[in-house]
C-alpha cells in the first residue's frame, strides 16, 4: 500500500526533513509512526498524501508513483485516502452532516446514498443524532470523531492520521485509537503518526520510529 525507497526530502534551506527512509506498509496493516516532534512524522504523511514531493527516492502509494503523479491526477488519488488531522480541520460554517458528507459529495454520490453513508459513519464514531450540530458546539473529542467519520465515510483504502489524539485526554485518546484498530480489523490500511508513546506502548502493533529524519527503528512491539 505504501512503499518508500531511499526517500529524502530536503527543504530549500538545506535541512533534511527526511533522510534516506525506506519501508513498506502492506495492505491491511496498522502501523504507528512515532518520534519526537520535528523528527519528520508529519513530513512523511505529507509525502504519502501527495502534499509534498520527495527530493530523491521513490514514494509509491496505492499503486501510484507519487514522484511522477500529474497535478490533475492528485484529486482522484486523494479520494482513496482518508486523512485525520490533529486540529480536525472541520469546516465551521457547515453542519456535522455536511462535514462528513463532503468526501461523498466530491465523489459524486447522490443525496440519499450520502445520507445513508453519513449516518452509518457517524453511528460508527458514536455521534449519530448530532448531524445538524455545528462543529463549534461539540467538544474537542467529538470534533475529532467527526473528523474520523469524514475520513472513513467513503471507505478509503488507506487511512492516515496525524496526531489524532494530540488534544485529547487519555481516556478519549484510547477510545480514538480503538476506533482505528476497528477500522483496521475490517481491512483498512492505517498509518497513525503520534508522539504519545504511552498510548501505544501496550499495543502489539508495528511501530516506525523516526529520529531526526531517519528511520531509527521498525519494530513490531
Amino acid at each position: 500500500m505504501i512503499q518508500f525507497s531511499n526517500v529524502t526530502l530536503r527543504f530549500p534551506t538545506g535541512h533534511d526533513a527526511l533522510n534516506d527512509v525506506s519501508f513498506t506498509l502492506n495492505k491491511g496493516e496498522l502501523a504507528f509512526l512515532t518520534g519526537h516532534s520535528g523528527a519528520g512524522k508529519s513530513t512523511l504523511l505529507k509525502l504519502v498524501a501527495a502534499i509534498e514531493r520527495s527530493t530523491t527516492g521513490q514514494v509509491v502509494v496505492n499503486g501510484e508513483n507519487l514522484n511522477r503523479i500529474r497535478r490533475s491526477r492528485v484529486p482522484a488519488f486523494r479520494r482513496n485516502l482518508g486523512i485525520v488531522f490533529q486540529d480536525h480541520n472541520l469546516l465551521h460554517d457547515r453542519s456535522v452532516f455536511d462535514n462528513v458528507a463532503l468526501p461523498l459529495v466530491i465523489e459524486g454520490f447522490r443525496g440519499e446514498e450520502i445520507a445513508r453513508r453519513v449516518r452509518a459513519a457517524l453511528d460508527k464514531v458514536g455521534l449519530l443524532g448530532k448531524e445538524s450540530f455545528f462543529p463549534v458546539t461539540l467538544s474537542t473529542g467529538e470534533q475529532q470523531r467527526v473528523g474520523i467519520a469524514r475520513a472513513v465515510v467513503n471507505r478509503p483504502a488507506l487511512l492516515l492520521a496525524d496526531e489524532p489524539t494530540g488534544n485529547l485526554d487519555p481516556e478519549l485518546a484510547r477510545e480514538i485509537m480503538r476506533l482505528f484498530e476497528e477500522f483496521n480489523q475490517v481491512g483498512t490500511t492505517v498509518l497513525v503518526a503520534t508522539h504519545d508513546i504511552e498510548l501505544i506502548a501496550r499495543k502489539r502493533h508495528r511501530r516506525l520510529i523516526l529520529k531526526q529524519g531517519r528511520l531509527d527503528a521498525d519494530t513490531n512491539h
Binding site: 496505492n62 458528507a101 466530491i106 465523489e107
Partner: protein, 352 residues
C-alpha cells in the same frame, strides 16, 4: 516487517466501483445493495449526484455572502452602476435617433428659381421633377404666394412695400420620395437639382440633420468606449471581491483539496457567487436606468410639448433589460472565473 499476516482477504483497492463489497460497519447489506447505483449512469442518478454537489456549492456561496455582506453589496452596486451608466446613455441616444428619424421624413429641398422664371416654366419644371423616381412631391410657391407668406409670417411686409417690386423668387419645394431617406442620398439629390439651369439655389433645409447624425455617431462611439472602460472596471471589482473570498476560505479550500476535491469542485461556489453578483448587479442596473428615465420623462415631455410634439421618452424595453441582465451575469462569471483560476492554484495543502 509485519508479523501479523493480513487478517482477512481484502477485496478493496482503488477501483471501488468494480468491487462493491466494502469493510467497516458501514457495509450493511442495505448500503451494499445500493453501491452500484450510487454512481449509476442513469440520468436520474446523475442528476441526483449533481444536485448534491450543487447543494454543497450553493451553501458555500451563501456562507460566503454571510461572511462578507458589505463587500457583497458593494460589488453588486458597483457592477450595477458600471452597467447602468452606459445603458442610460444608450437609451437616451436611441431616443434622439428616434426623434431625428421623424425629422428625416420631413426632409425637403427648396429650389429657389431664377427670378426671371415665368410661372409656366416653373410649373413645367415641377411636372418634370415629379416624374423622377427619387422625388415624391413637388409644391410650387409662386412669387405672389411667397410674398404673401413673407408678409404674414415675418412682420416685415411694410418694408417690402417700399421696394415696389416683388423681390422674391418662385420656389419649388421638393420632397424626396423615401420618407426615411439617408442624409447623403438627399445631398446627392440637392447636387443634381442645383445643375438645373432654371435653379438659382438648391437648399437642403435640413442640412444640420447631417451634422446631428455625425454627432450621434460620435456619441455612439463614446458610449462604446465608456462602456468598455466600465466593463473592465466591473471585472476588476468582481475579481477583487472573489480574491477576498478565496483568501477568506483558504483553510476550507486546503481541506477540500486534501479530501480530493478537483479544482472544478473548489471553483464552483465562487462561480455561483459571480453569477449572483452579476444577476443582482444587472437587476440593480435595470432599476437605476428605469429610475433615471422616469425622472427625465416629465421634463422631456414638457419640452416636447413646447415644440408641439407628442414625443415620449422611450424606456428600456424587454430586449435591453434582458441584455443588461445577460451582460451582468456574463461579467460576474468572467470576473470570478479569472480571479478564482488565478488564485486557486496558489492554495495547496501543505503550502503555508
Amino acid at each position: 516487517m509485519p508479523s501479523d499476516p493480513p487478517r482477512k482477504p481484502r477485496p478493496r483497492s482503488g477501483a471501488r466501483d468494480v468491487n462493491p463489497s466494502k469493510p467497516l460497519d458501514l457495509n450493511t447489506p442495505e448500503i451494499r445493495s445500493n453501491v452500484n447505483s450510487t454512481r449509476g449512469t442513469t440520468f436520474r442518478a446523475q442528476w441526483r449526484a449533481y444536485a448534491a454537489a450543487h447543494r454543497w456549492a450553493v451553501l458555500g456561496t451563501l456562507a460566503q455572502f454571510r461572511r462578507m455582506p458589505y463587500t457583497t453589496a458593494l460589488t453588486c452596486v458597483a457592477l450595477g452602476i458600471a452597467l447602468a451608466f452606459p445603458a442610460v446613455l444608450f437609451v437616451l441616444l436611441q431616443n434622439v435617433q428616434q426623434v431625428t428619424a421623424r425629422w428625416d421624413g420631413a426632409a425637403q429641398i427648396s429650389l429657389y428659381l431664377k427670378t426671371s422664371t415665368t410661372e409656366t416654366q416653373a410649373l413645367k419644371l415641377a411636372e418634370q421633377l415629379r416624374t423622377q423616381p427619387d422625388i415624391g412631391k413637388v409644391d410650387y410657391i409662386s412669387k405672389a404666394r411667397a410674398l404673401e407668406d413673407f408678409q404674414r409670417y415675418s412682420g416685415l411686409g411694410d418694408a417690402l412695400a417700399l421696394l415696389g417690386e416683388n423681390p422674391l423668387p418662385p420656389v419649388l419645394v421638393v420632397h424626396p420620395k423615401d420618407a426615411q431617406v439617408k442624409p447623403d442620398a438627399v445631398q446627392r439629390l440637392v447636387q443634381t437639382l442645383q445643375t438645373n439651369p432654371a435653379v438659382d439655389v438648391a437648399q437642403w433645409d435640413m442640412q444640420w440633420l447631417q451634422r446631428l447624425h455625425g454627432l450621434i455617431a460620435v456619441g455612439q462611439r463614446a458610449i462604446l468606449v465608456i462602456g468598455a472602460l466600465l466593463l473592465i472596471a466591473a471585472l476588476v471589482v468582481v475579481g477583487n471581491t472573489i480574491r477576498l473570498a478565496v483568501q477568506n476560505r483558504t483553510q476550507e479550500i486546503k481541506v477540500t483539496k486534501l479530501i480530493g476535491a478537483s479544482d472544478g469542485f473548489v471553483r464552483r461556489p465562487f462561480l455561483y457567487s459571480g453569477f449572483c453578483y452579476g444577476l443582482t448587479g444587472g437587476l440593480f442596473a435595470i432599476g437605476v436606468v428605469s429610475t433615471v428615465l422616469w425622472a427625465l420623462h416629465d421634463p422631456v415631455h414638457a419640452v416636447a410639448l413646447s415644440y408641439s410634439s407628442n414625443f415620449e421618452l422611450h424606456g428600456l424595453g424587454f430586449e435591453l433589460s434582458a441584455l443588461l441582465l445577460a451582460a451582468g451575469i456574463g461579467l460576474g462569471l468572467t470576473g470570478s472565473w479569472l480571479s478564482v483560476s488565478r488564485h486557486l492554484r496558489a492554495i495547496e495543502p501543505g503550502v503555508a
